[in-house]
């Protein structure tokens, strides 16, 4: 017995040591359950983080667009009837009205980190016999790179953009058979055409984007798409991508523009993610419940097995509270010890996952961070579960009548 140890601790640990197999099995059970919870939590956080990171690679969290054009039927007089059917208007490429003013306003909005005006429209990229439909995006590199990390995705060539430079995706480069320094001709639906020189090739890790997007200087795009002095959209980066919809909401309120957040444009992804989180939470909840029931059942059996000893301890002057604590300590310890084991197991699973789940090129499929807070919260959570599970058996033990317990 340790010199500084307390009565309750000594008795609790002796009880557990005496029923070593039982104690070991329940700690193993808690460990397995805890390991599953930790692994699932880490995997979910990793999956979520990776999908978000990859999506936001090439997608601005908030995009400000000119308002949709709507058909306004003319009426001869106020009493005249409306047309029975109104054909919706086709949307033209146009500039955001007073975009400089809106830009200044949005840049000051809380949560906004960077804003980049762009001109984007459809066109064709041609080289020799090859022609591909592309989305032409005119950017100012100094503002755009702060919103979308295109500069980090350049795999060949330069990062800057001269008036006749074009940065194309790696897939498009392949399709057109173009490399750095080659000429590519861009044409638009109106027949405007300009020849650009490939100055850079990017790879966003997304085939669609890599095959269908080209970047040119903002002024070149304004002239090519006939939008001199205007911008067709402003892309906004915010500090917290998950607050994008809330910020978009506040921006919508003040201006006559259309504000799209990535949360709204990717609603399906978020629904899927929410379903995933819900399923995961349910599984974790049930595993937690199973752990609690396991601990509780072991302690209930222990109280029955030890009722005579409890009676004797009570006859010797041990208070009900002391008996209560003896069993609470056992529950808490089983939870804590189980969570330590669970953390080790989860750590092992995660290391295994990292070595197994790899792309063909050897890079990790997605990165699962082994956050210390996850292990800490698992430890605290398991201890609480253990304590809660011990409440019923502990109260039962504390309430035992010493006379009945001794006779039992």
């Amino acid at each position: 017995m340790n010199r500084i140890a307390f009565f309750e601790l000594i008795v609790a640990f002796r009880f557990m040591r005496e029923g070593l197999t039982q104690t070991f099995l329940i700690i193993l059970g808690v460990g397995l359950g805890g390991g599953v919870i930790i692994f699932m939590s880490a995997a979910l956080a990793g999956l979520e983080g990776n999908v978000v990171r990859r999506t936001l690679n090439f997608l601005a969290p908030i995009v400000i667009l000119p308002p949709d054009q709507v058909a306004r039927p003319l009426r001869a007089g106020p009493q005249d009837e409306f047309a029975a059917q109104v054909q919706p208007r086709s949307q033209q490429l146009r500039s955001i009205d007073q975009w400089q003013k809106i830009r200044d306003q949005v840049e000051r909005a809380p949560g906004v980190v960077a804003l980049a005006p762009v001109v984007s429209g459809p066109g064709f990229a041609l080289r020799g016999d090859a022609s591909r439909a592309v989305s032409i995006t005119g950017i100012e590199p100094e503002t755009y790179f702060r919103v979308i990390a295109l500069d980090e995705k350049i795999v060949a060539g330069r990062r800057d953009l001269g008036p006749t430079d074009i940065i194309i995706g790696i897939e498009l480069a392949k399709d057109l058979g173009a490399g750095i320094g080659d000429k590519v001709r861009l044409t638009t639906a109106t027949g405007a055409a300009t020849i650009f020189t490939v100055s850079g090739v990017f790879d966003f890790g997304n085939k669609g984007v890599n095959a269908g997007t080209v970047y040119i200087a903002l002024r070149s795009a304004q002239s090519l798409l006939d939008l001199i002095g205007g911008v067709s959209a402003m892309q906004v980066r915010v500090r917290d991508p998950f607050a994008a919809e809330r910020i978009a909401e506040s921006l919508r309120a003040g201006a006559a523009v259309k504000v799209d957040s990535w949360i709204r444009t990717n609603a399906e992804f978020f629904t899927a993610m929410a379903a995933q989180i819900m399923t995961n939470t349910l599984i974790r909840l049930f595993v937690g419940l199973t752990i609690a029931l396991g601990i509780a059942s072991v302690l209930v059996v222990s109280v029955i097995q030890k009722s005579r000893e409890i009676g004797i301890l009570r006859a010797m002057g041990t208070s009900r509270e002391q008996i209560l604590r003896v069993f609470l300590i056992q529950g808490g310890f089983m939870g804590l010890a189980g969570s330590v084991l669970g953390s080790l197991l989860a750590w092992g699973f995660l290391l295994l996952w990292r070595s197994v789940a790899r792309n063909a090129d050897g890079t990790p499929m997605f990165i699962i961070e082994m956050e210390p807070w996850l292990f800490m919260s698992a430890a605290v959570g398991s201890m609480l579960v253990g304590l809660l599970a011990a409440v019923v058996p502990a109260r039962r033990a504390a309430r035992l009548d010493p006379v009945v317990a001794i006779r039992s």
């Binding site: 017995m1 010199r3 500084i4 010797m316 002057g317 041990t318």
Partner: protein
């Protein structure tokens, strides 16, 4: 001052039910300091119930219990537990040692429960008590690793750990062979004589009852005789 005083103690089971049974019918009893008394009587006469009530393990339905002049009936559960731990020692027919602990630790247990944490002094007290019952060589053995007589001696040492004024022994030799029973009884007697602790011993064995200073006889929940034993057999025949 009397160590123990019972005034008109009643105890019934199943109160308020059709099978209500009164087990003790107004017991009056007083034990002075250092008395060594036997409580005898046929099975079912209420000896164990009386011992539980005196030991504050069970509350009476009527009457008063005074331990060293302190009225136990007015104490709440926690105070009763404290008084029980401090003033009364128990020796049961079965030793009821905690199998998880060594002999020495079992003896230390009541002091540990009262003080909350270990100290060197309680270890010394326990060692002295084990020495007194002649178990020093076995002090570090687990309770399950020693013989029945030795276990009962450990239980006696444990009952003395808190230096109680009263030790209640319920058939302390009931599970032992004659030789071990005599040995255990010698220990009880010796402690009574050297430390002046009051003993009330329930026994079925007339031979052992004869070795007590006073014999209280209980029949059907009533004390039918309470007499001093004029011819006390001080020592066991073997001693």
């Amino acid at each position: 001052m009397e160590t123990l005083r019972l005034d008109g103690v009643h105890k019934s089971y199943g109160v308020g039910t059709p099978v209500e049974t009164e087990v003790l019918h107004g017991i009056d009893l007083a034990l002075g300091r250092g008395e060594f008394a036997a409580l005898v009587g046929p099975s079912g006469s209420g000896k164990s119930t009386l011992l539980n009530v005196i030991g504050l393990l069970d509350r009476p339905n009527g009457g008063r219990i005074l331990i060293e002049g302190r009225e136990a009936g007015i104490l709440d559960d926690a105070e009763l537990t404290r008084l029980r731990g401090r003033a009364i020692g128990f020796v049961f027919q079965h030793h009821y040692l905690l199998p998880e602990f060594t002999a020495l630790e079992n003896v230390m247990m009541p002091i540990l429960a009262a003080r909350g944490r270990l100290d060197e002094e309680m270890r010394e007290t326990a060692a002295l008590l084990l020495d007194r019952v002649g178990l020093t060589p076995w002090r570090d053995k687990k309770a399950t690793q020693i013989s029945g007589g030795q276990q009962q001696r450990v239980a006696i040492a444990r009952s003395l750990a808190m230096k109680p004024v009263l030790v209640l022994a319920d058939e302390p030799t009931g599970n032992l062979d004659t030789r071990s029973a005599d040995g255990v009884f010698d220990v009880l007697r010796e402690i009574n004589e050297t430390s002046g602790t009051t003993f009330l011993i329930v026994t079925h064995d007339p031979r052992l009852a004869q070795r007590c200073d006073r014999i209280v006889e209980l029949v059907d929940g009533r004390i039918v005789s309470d007499r001093p034993n004029r011819e006390v057999v001080r020592r066991s025949p073997a001693a």
